[in-house]
């Protein structure tokens, strides 16, 4: 059975002020309902005024998604009663969205974008004493009300959960590159997913926050619908709520017909012409997009497509980090190896991203230079990177403090002699032609020296000593 998935993605746009008033968008340290004014609370007599910066962001995003921009935009009122809406209508775009008919390439697959439009975020509801269906009452926090959102609506082109995840990851990297959103803000991306199986009825899962949850919700919904179909039960058209804690969806309301929002043109806001001067200026200064950056990395740094893809798709900050490292270190290939194989692993383990961590290009390349200079072994470096990821301390300093540098020839000679003395059987094996036995001895030396020796040096010492040792 084939799944058909379409997504509506709401992204908080990174602006200083809200979409229709001058309240700040940063809610850090704000008491509930502190970040409000007569406009975003919909006080009688107040009027909205469109934030040009949010429109700029929308234009750039539409361009990045290969959409056609409309010649002039209008806002509309989407009318429905809900306590999170200060005006009981949402100012959004209906008749004339910002842009239409774009696409995102996932490998060879083209995922079509139906439309991109701007709208205001409603307030945040805090369900007290339960979830959305069981809470005794709600607290309403209007701090968020009026923050600009861009809504991206795909055609139902996604065929499974994995593809939906890949699409969202790609979209987030594009958004990140454009600098139009802050991936670290809670709820910066919220998704409504439309899912159906083999041409069955469409089910909408509302308000999923975060990529992992989207994947969970879609998995649950696809499996649920497939099992129903297998049991011969018709899937009915409905809206479902996703519960992040249990990872399940539950029915909110049956949907017999399309919702009727009684849209009208927002009469308080004038038409805004997207004249070519404005659009061209934005397009010219548009940042490099991820697909282009991958190609450039392959070309400029002679690295593989796979590694370039990992660097770029992890996020803009890592791409910038990589390029900075390449400026400070001679071999981009070595840099990419160390980032992809060790640094990312360590960051993931610590649940950090490059931006939040204390890892800096200057100190990171120091680690690579310490290897080149023969101060530490690769193996020490691989261990050291874990500590460095957390503390961000200069690797050179750590090496000094913890005495991790390579042993002197004399010291090493002594350890090797000891190991040979202590392992007569392995030595014997080696001398009778089992060359592999040397590896065991090398391992013993490294253990004893806590990796403060280069493997090649140890191998040479061991073989030399055994060759010269009488049987």
């Amino acid at each position: 059975m084939k799944a058909t998935i379409g997504l509506e993605i709401h992204v908080h746009l990174l602006t200083d002020s809200k979409l229709f008033c001058s309240c700040r968008t940063s809610l850090m340290g704000k008491e509930p309902n502190e970040n409000t004014c007569p406009i975003c609370l919909g006080f009688p007599g107040s009027k909205p005024k469109a934030n040009k910066r949010a429109i700029d962001h929308g234009i750039v995003l539409a361009k990045a998604l290969s959409c056609s921009l409309v010649p002039e935009i209008r806002f509309s009122r989407k009318n429905y009663f809900y306590p999170d809406m200060p005006k009981n209508f949402q100012i959004t775009q209906y008749e004339v969205p910002l842009a239409m008919n774009g696409y995102v390439m996932l490998g060879n697959r083209k995922i079509r974008i139906r439309r991109v439009h701007l709208e205001e975020d409603p307030a945040k509801l805090i369900h007290v004493g339960g979830d959305i269906t069981t809470a005794r009452y709600n607290h309403i926090d209007y701090n968020r009300a009026g923050i600009p959102l861009v809504e991206i609506v795909t055609e139902p082109d996604l065929e499974d959960t994995k593809e939906a995840r890949l699409f969202l990851e790609k979209l987030s990297v594009i958004l990140d590159h454009l600098g139009v959103y802050d991936p670290t803000t809670e709820g910066a991306i919220r998704v409504d997913a439309n899912v159906s199986i083999d041409g069955g009825q469409r089910v909408e899962v509302k308000n999923i926050t975060g990529f992992r949850n989207v994947e969970k919700a879609l998995n649950y919904e696809v499996v649920r619908q497939k099992s129903m179909a297998n049991m011969g039960i018709d899937v009915s058209r409905e809206t479902r709520h996703f519960d992040a804690e249990s990872g399940t969806t539950s029915s909110l309301r049956k949907k017999e017909t399309e919702d009727d929002y009684g849209y009208i043109i927002e009469p308080d806001l004038v038409k805004i012409k997207l004249h070519s001067e404005w659009v061209d200026k934005l397009t010219e200064s548009m940042p490099e997009l991820p697909d282009h950056r991958i190609e450039r990395f392959i070309e400029q740094y002679s690295i593989g497509r796979f590694q370039a893809g990992i660097i770029v798709n992890t996020g803009l900050q890592l791409s910038l980090f990589y390029e900075e490292c390449c400026n400070l270190y001679k071999d981009p290939k070595i840099v990419v190896n160390w980032i992809v194989t060790y640094l990312l692993k360590s960051l993931n383990y610590e649940r950090l991203n490059i931006k939040e961590s204390k890892v800096k290009p200057e100190t990171f390349v120091e680690l690579l230079k310490l290897i080149d200079e023969g101060v530490i072994s690769e193996r020490t470096a691989k261990e050291l990177i874990k500590e460095y990821t957390v503390s961000g301390e200069s690797p050179r300093k750590i090496v000094k403090e913890k005495n991790l540098s390579l042993m002197s020839e004399d010291e090493l000679h002594k350890v090797v002699s000891e190991v040979i003395e202590e392992n007569p059987k392995a030595v014997n094996d080696y001398q009778s032609g089992h060359v592999k036995a040397a590896e065991y001895l090398i391992g013993q030396v490294l253990r004893k020296t806590r990796a403060r020796a280069a493997v090649d040096t140890v191998r040479k010492l061991i073989t030399d000593m055994m060759e010269s040792k009488p049987r």
Binding site: G45, P48, K49, G262, I264, I265, V270
Partner: protein
């Protein structure tokens, strides 16, 4: 007696105020020494502003409407909030949450609406006074005509709507009333002009409109649209209006007949657009953030339904239901979107006429102020029909002035003059000629 005391007396006699200031402040400027009354739907910082509706009882805006701020900046004192039909929904000022104002010429008759209180205070004040009023489909012209004062409705966007409690945003215009054309023009001069708080405001700089009040109609081309003198217009009213037009001719204007074929469609277009917008504007009034509150009981739907049942008057409820209907899927194309198209046709009517004439002249209202007993007999649709002469210019967003041109049955008759967008100067000029000769 202080001005505030006088205002209380006026209110006792005619129920013209919803709120009267405790003291009259004021300063230096064009309106120094002038008491400005403000229609209840225009916000005044710190004064209860209800737009005539129970559902906004207790709403005290934390800001001044731009027009109010401009008046204060020119030294005016704000006298209080004048009565109106609830949210502007009415022609006779009988659809109110707080009592019905009485016509000073005959207390058994309507003041006209929806800016009824503004017209009453303007008519009877024996102190320096000007009124801020507001029109969506004729709410300045109608009461000005019924109470015998001058009412100016400017071009849509000439005055900022920041601080106006919306009826229908694409139609609402804040305007003014005065005893004379010059006085009304003075207030228009003060309140006009660009404003960063209203996106729909026009950016052209304001003018000194009083300089046009020279009593001279020399060179003005007056057009008389035949459609405005049709069935339903009282012959006594027609007669006085023609007297006014003849006056313009004798003061140097030329008069020609014009035709405005889309006039007959303007009423339905107007009511559909106005109600569609109104029904969304009123959605925010649900007892949660401002205005009427009740003990929290039941779920959200139950709570807001109860607040709205109690807070809205019958006409408001009618317009919410009709307005919601016209924008629902399946009806939207036939009503709301079609009404928008008709609106552009009505605008073309005016643009075509203003290629040939400077000013259009017609009766403001088809009748003189009716008695309350007569109003009680009318069906809702007959109320709406009363606006037949004022809705077209309001739909087109062109400026208009109602100026007294005589009496019929002992009641004032208003001559309605209309000009092209932003031609308020010509309007003042022509009206002053009518007034000067009277």
């Amino acid at each position: 007696m202080t001005t505030i005391e006088k205002a209380h007396l006026i209110n006792e006699k005619y129920k013209a105020f919803n709120f009267i200031a405790e003291a009259l402040e004021g300063g230096e400027g064009l309106l120094s020494g002038v008491a400005v009354s403000v229609k209840d739907n225009v916000c005044v910082n710190g004064m209860q502003s209800t737009a005539g509706s129970k559902i906004l009882e207790g709403y005290i805006p934390p800001f001044d409407a731009t027009v109010v701020a401009k008046c204060r900046a020119e030294g005016a004192g704000i006298l209080g909030k004048t009565t109106q039909d609830e949210f502007g929904f009415g022609t006779f000022n009988v659809n109110t949450g707080y009592g019905v104002p009485l016509n000073p010429h005959d207390p058994e008759r309507s003041t006209g609406g929806s800016s009824g209180g503004a017209a009453v205070v303007t008519a009877v004040a024996d102190f320096p006074h000007l009124a801020i009023a507001e029109s969506t489909g004729g709410s300045i012209s109608c009461p000005a005509s019924f109470c015998g004062v001058v009412g100016i409705t400017p071009t849509y966007g000439r005055t900022s709507r920041w601080g106006l409690i919306d009826y229908a945003n694409s139609l609402d215009k804040i305007g003014c009333m005065g005893k004379t054309v010059r006085e009304a023009a003075l207030l228009l001069t003060v309140i006009s002009g660009p404003d960063k708080y209203d996106s729909t405001v026009l950016h052209e700089p304001t003018q000194d409109y009083t300089s046009y009040a020279d009593g001279c109609a020399e060179g003005l081309k007056i057009g008389v649209p035949e459609e405005y003198f049709g069935e339903g217009v009282d012959t006594g009213v027609t007669e006085k209006v023609w007297t006014g037009i003849k006056t313009l001719e004798s003061e140097g204007a030329t008069v020609t007949e014009v035709s405005m074929p889309f006039t007959k469609h303007s009423l339905s277009s107007y009511y559909i657009i106005a109600m569609a917008e109104a029904s969304t504007n009123l959605a925010k009034l649900c007892g949660l953030r401002y205005g009427l509150h009740m003990p929290l009981e039941g779920n959200f739907d139950e709570y807001f339904s109860e607040v709205r049942t109690l807070g809205f008057g019958e006409e408001a409820k009618r317009r919410i239901i009709l307005g919601t209907f016209t924008r629902m899927a399946g009806y939207r194309d036939a009503y709301y979107l079609k009404a928008l198209k008709v609106r552009t046709k009505v605008i073309e009517d005016f643009k075509r006429a203003f290629k040939h004439v400077d000013v259009l002249a017609a009766p403001t209202m088809p009748v003189v102020a009716p008695k309350f007993s007569e109003i009680a007999e009318l069906e809702p649709i007959q109320h709406y029909m009363m606006d037949i002469l004022t809705v077209a210019p309001n739909l087109a967003g062109v400026p208009m002035i109602s100026v007294p041109c005589g009496e019929h049955l002992g009641m004032p008759v208003g001559l309605h003059l209309m000009t092209d967008h932003l031609e308020e100067g010509k309007l003042v000029k022509a009206a002053s000629a009518v007034e000067g000769a009277r």
